[in-house]
């Protein structure tokens, strides 16, 4: 298989207005920088973005917020972005906050072909409002769980460390985060990688995401890989 495309512009060229897209990353760690830049350039609007966070003011998904391309964010934590806050408070931007584990598992369910999952996260809170719940015995005690639906996303856009033309992916350190399960969850999955290596050169035992889940792959350029909170200790 050769799923290689030239660059981010080609990879995202059929993403249309009002599409639902998943974007991998935790904070600014492991985000698909090239595809975000390409989406800003293309100017596609009315997007629903499923992503753990919403970037910062001038980087990550924050770039797409500045250009008013996002209609709705589905995230677990969005605290680092003033323009986000302004759009949310003015009602321009719809925001659905969901527990982080629920977000991850709703992606996983989509990739595993399961319509829904049960989780205890959010029971008894406003997250549970309007949701079906069910009790199960856990370690001899009856416990309540919420039914949460698998995500249905048109595109998943992920960032990996290494990949090959088959679409096999390897992630690095905590830049893995949401990328593998989002890669499994998109109807069309686009992977940008720091290093695209020849087919056959990745150790099959070390693959995190098998290429069957990936439809397009390219080697990204000019990665900034910004650090959100630089914390160090003295020698």
């Amino acid at each position: 298989m050769n799923k290689t495309v030239k660059n981010a512009d080609e990879a995202i060229k059929d993403i249309q207005d009002y599409a639902t897209i998943m974007l991998g990353g935790f904070g600014l760690c492991g985000i698909p920088e090239n595809c975000i830049t390409a989406l800003v350039k293309k100017g596609v609007k009315g997007l629903t973005c499923i992503s753990n966070n919403a970037g910062v003011d001038n980087f990550g998904i924050g770039l797409m917020l500045n250009t008013r391309q996002v209609k709705k964010m589905i995230s677990s934590y969005v605290g680092e972005n003033e323009e986000f806050e302004r759009q949310m408070l003015s009602g321009e931007l719809e925001v659905e906050l969901i527990p982080q584990g629920t977000l991850a598992t709703r992606c996983l369910a989509a990739g595993y072909g399961m319509p829904a999952i049960y989780t205890p996260a959010g029971v008894g809170t406003e997250v549970a409002i309007g949701k079906e719940s069910r009790k199960f015995m856990v370690e001899g005690v009856e416990k309540e769980f919420l039914m949460e639906m698998a995500f249905d996303a048109d595109f998943a856009i992920v960032k990996a460390w290494k990949g090959d033309p088959h679409g096999n992916l390897i992630f690095r350190e905590t830049a893995r985060n949401f990328n593998p399960m989002m890669a499994m969850a998109g109807k069309i999955t686009i992977a940008e990688v720091e290093e695209l290596v020849p087919a056959g050169s990745l150790d099959p035992d070390q693959i995190h995401t098998p290429g069957i889940y990936v439809h397009r792959i390219f080697q990204g350029v000019n990665y900034e890989k910004r650090i959100e909170q630089r914390t160090v200790r003295k020698r």
Binding site: G122, R172, V232
Partner: protein
């Protein structure tokens, strides 16, 4: 277990209470950690607990963005943008660490492999409900992983101030703020006291050095059980 964690995490983060208080709280909570524990530390005072885990004890810190075996901050110049904790701070790993994805991370939380969760709170009720993610009328940042952690953890210790900035008790009959989870908090350590959450209410276990039982009673709005002599906390 391969790792040993006795290291320094930057204590100069934002807190209202004095250094002595928050370090004292962190030191006292560190005594709750047992050899062989996998522990998830929330942002704030809980992060400081890592500095006071007794030497020689094997403890592995879980960071819910996908790491078991979190180490201290990197030396200047050795920061790695691919290696952060759940607070998005640059960190390091300790020998024997493992990376994984976010679904597996919450899988090990939900299936109760993580032995202890330590987190901050705005309010705790006498039946163990916790509120720590949302203040109506203020910008809501989100619950992050807090709802998953409190819904699943076997053992949850809350590190917080006993009263808020307005002088109102944060240990209440019922939480006023939107809930993060219900009937889940097991223990609370504040600048005044150590308390268990029992079916009958908050049970006073220890008082902070120099603090009287009366002062704790005055600062606690929820039902408080005081039985016998209440010993002073022992903090090294």
């Amino acid at each position: 277990m391969l790792t040993r964690c006795h290291f320094q995490i930057n204590p100069f983060s934002n807190f209202q209470i004095s250094m002595l208080d928050k370090i004292g709280i962190a030191k006292r909570i560190a005594k709750e950690i047992k050899d062989g524990y996998y522990v998830n530390l929330g942002i704030g005072i809980p992060t400081l607990v890592a500095n006071y885990i007794p030497k020689g004890m094997n403890v592995v810190l879980q960071s819910e963005n996908g790491l078991l075996g979190m180490g201290p901050f990197p030396f200047e110049g050795e920061e790695d943008s691919d290696l952060i904790n759940a607070g998005k701070q640059t960190i390091t790993t300790v020998p024997g660490s493992a990376f994984f994805d976010s679904a597996m991370s919450f899988g090990m939380i939900r299936s109760r492999k993580v032995n202890l969760t330590i987190l901050g709170a705005m309010e705790v009720s006498e039946n163990g409900d916790i509120a720590n993610w949302k203040i109506p009328g203020k910008m809501v940042k989100g619950m992050g992983g807090a709802m998953d952690l409190v819904a699943s953890a076997k053992n949850i210790i809350v590190a917080m101030q006993h009263v808020n900035k307005a002088g109102e008790s944060k240990l209440l009959p019922n939480c006023d703020l939107p809930l993060t989870g219900i009937r889940c908090v097991k223990k609370i350590v504040t600048e005044l006291a150590v308390l268990d959450v029992t079916p009958e209410g908050f049970k006073l276990l220890e008082r902070a050095p120099g603090v009287t039982v009366d002062e704790i009673i005055k600062a606690t709005l929820g039902r408080l059980i005081v039985e016998g002599d209440i010993p002073e906390m022992v903090i090294d």
